[in-house]
């Protein structure tokens, strides 16, 4: 029995020892962190005038002078951090001047050396700062770092640095390939990283869309969201026929958002596509296109299995004038189940929205719709709100 106790004693002593070590470590860490923080604040205060000088004359063409006096490493770090902060915030000439200033002050050199350091922490910090300073010399080293490690959050940090610093498109593509080679569907994140680049976005996106690797194509498509890139339009047309489901859906979305003139066969093809995303986008676009055969297609789509397709179809029908609205009312009265529900809901919204408008044309349009509505539903009966149960397989995205 006493041997058991012995084990327990060992356990207790080990605990005590570790506790003692732990507390000492804690106190030492806390004190050194606090001290560093204090010193940083002191240096920021000390160089405050210099910072004001830089900010005031960043717009001038004349050379900016380097910080005065002999600087300790922590001072240099404080100044460098400030410069990097400014580089992140500004665009154009101002950014370029700051980058030049960083180079002249020797920051880039120092961090390039740190990139080869033994300690991982120092290497990563250097990688981060080199990206902040847009130092293109660092890109080969950074690419090596990216490819060596396995995929985790740190890879993203390195990739971002590469995107900021690279001045050759091949490097960017190389970085993307390496990121996506792990098989994770991080296209949105990759697109965001890509957009940090200082190079011309249009040409890069063209290269991406032409790439044989579908992952890169998807990144290119995703990156185009919210940006008008006219050079890319023709390529989109080709991608609409691509095999990869995501690629196709994205391409269709983008293509339709430019409101192109669509052929009738194309419309039918899109509305009967096997992906609900494609059908939903097509239904939405039909509301703007005012194409002849849209209305029956949209009425049929009111019965679609996907909530989003039904929703967009109803919306588009309401946007297609009286004929569309009439079709909607008809669907509501004669249809059943999900078709009826979608139609009714949209009718309710339309009647409510129109009541608020004051302009004459809208009043006229509203009254016409009111007439149609009353013809189908009778004058007394208010439009009931259905908050009922949607069909199985409801929508899961906005």
């Amino acid at each position: 029995m006493f041997s058991h106790l012995f084990v327990a004693y060992v356990f207790i002593y080990v605990c005590l020892g570790l506790i003692g070590l732990g507390i000492m470590l804690l106190v030492q860490m806390k004190i050194s962190h606090n001290r560093e923080q204090q010193r940083r604040e002191y240096y920021e205060q000390k160089h405050h005038d210099y910072f004001v000088y830089v900010q005031a004359h960043l717009g001038d063409d004349a050379e900016l002078k380097l910080p005065p006096g002999k600087l300790k490493p922590l001072e240099r770090s404080v100044i460098q951090d400030k410069f990097i902060e400014w580089i992140e915030q500004f665009k154009g000439d101002y950014r370029n001047r700051l980058i030049r200033l960083c180079r002249e002050a020797g920051f880039v050199e120092a961090d390039l050396k740190a990139l080869g350091s033994f300690r991982y922490g120092r290497r990563l910090a250097a990688a981060y700062r080199l990206g902040g300073m847009r130092a293109e010399e660092a890109v080969p080293g950074l690419l090596k770092m990216l490819k060596k490690g396995k995929y985790n959050s740190i890879s993203i940090i390195i990739a971002r640095s590469i995107a900021k610093a690279a001045n050759r498109p091949e490097d960017l593509l190389d970085m993307l390939r390496s990121l996506l080679s792990h098989g994770k569907p991080i296209h949105h994140l990759a697109a965001d990283i890509l957009l940090e680049t200082g190079l011309d976005a249009g040409s890069i996106l063209l290269k991406l869309l032409d790439d044989p690797d579908p992952a890169l194509v998807k990144v290119g498509l995703v990156a185009m969201w919210g940006q008008a890139v006219p050079e890319v339009m023709p390529v989109l047309g080709r991608l609409v026929g691509a095999k990869e489901k995501d690629v196709r859906a994205e391409a269709v979305k983008l293509y339709l958002s430019t409101n192109p003139a669509l052929k009738d066969e194309t419309i039918v093809q899109l509305m009967t596509d096997r992906d609900w995303e494609v059908r939903a986008e097509a239904a939405k676009a039909l509301g703007q296109l005012h194409a002849a055969g849209s209305i029956p297609l949209l009425v049929k789509a009111l019965q679609d299995a996907s909530w989003k397709v039904r929703h967009n179809s109803a919306e588009s029908l309401a946007a297609l004038g009286e004929a569309g609205f009439e079709a909607l009312c008809q669907a509501a009265v004669t249809g059943t189940g999900i078709q009826r529900e979608a139609a009714l809901h949209r009718i309710g919204l339309v009647m409510e929205a129109e009541q608020k408008h004051g302009a004459i044309e809208q009043m006229v349009a509203y009254n016409k719709k009111r007439l149609i509505h009353d013809r189908y539903f009778g004058v007394k009966q208010p439009v009931k709100r259905m908050t009922g149960v949607a069909a199985v397989g409801g929508d899961y995205t906005a």
Partner: protein, 267 residues
Amino acid sequence: MPESLTLERKQQEGLYHNLEERLNKTFPELCGVMFLYCPGPPQLESLVSEFLRQETGSDIEVLKDASTSTLAVLLPGSTLNQAHYQALLLKRHLEETVPEADPRITLTVFPGQVDPTPGVLKQMAESARLGPSADIHIFTKEEAASEPGRILIVDNDDTIREFLTIRLNMQGYETLEALDGTSALELIEKWEPDLVLTELNLYGIDGLPFINQIQKLPVENTPKIVVLTEQRVERTISQCFQHGVDDYITKPFSPVELDARIHRCFQ
């Protein structure tokens, strides 16, 4: 806002318009105008008007700006020389009779170097109240001409605020900083900037409601609003424009472009 405050505000606005009217209609020939700021003594008005009536014998008018405690004194028929002398006497009288008085006076005559517009009159009142030196101050044309635009900078990020303040000051604008939405709204009411340069990502109140509230504030001229933000989502941008924002700039931004857009708002 409590009703009494809004009333007061209206009265204050009315005061300068009132002054302008009186100067243009009642005393179009020649009239000296003196703005007196002397904190401390109660019944300053009666003190001043009594003294001046005794001195000059003509019908002086004393009006009071209640919110800033500045007095406006009209000296009809008085030249610049005479007005200045009166001011001198008045100042000495106040220093002798009222303990620890520190009267500040700004004066000019109309018609003269400047026109009696409410803006100019207000500027004179402010220069009396905020002027650095205790000397009697004569308001000149140069001063009136340079009415700098006022910009309120709203952003929680110290770096951006510092940069914008330095830069805009160098270009001749008058700037104030605010860290969050609520203090910004207070400053807009009190200071009445011409332009508000704001980030959307604020503490305490979100960007869109902030913009709405700016436009509902009871100020004479609703300031123009320029948004400088990291938000690049299209829906947010269009919502901002729908709510009446004058311009929208995304970060990272080019300071030169920012200048151009701000300049455009001032025209």
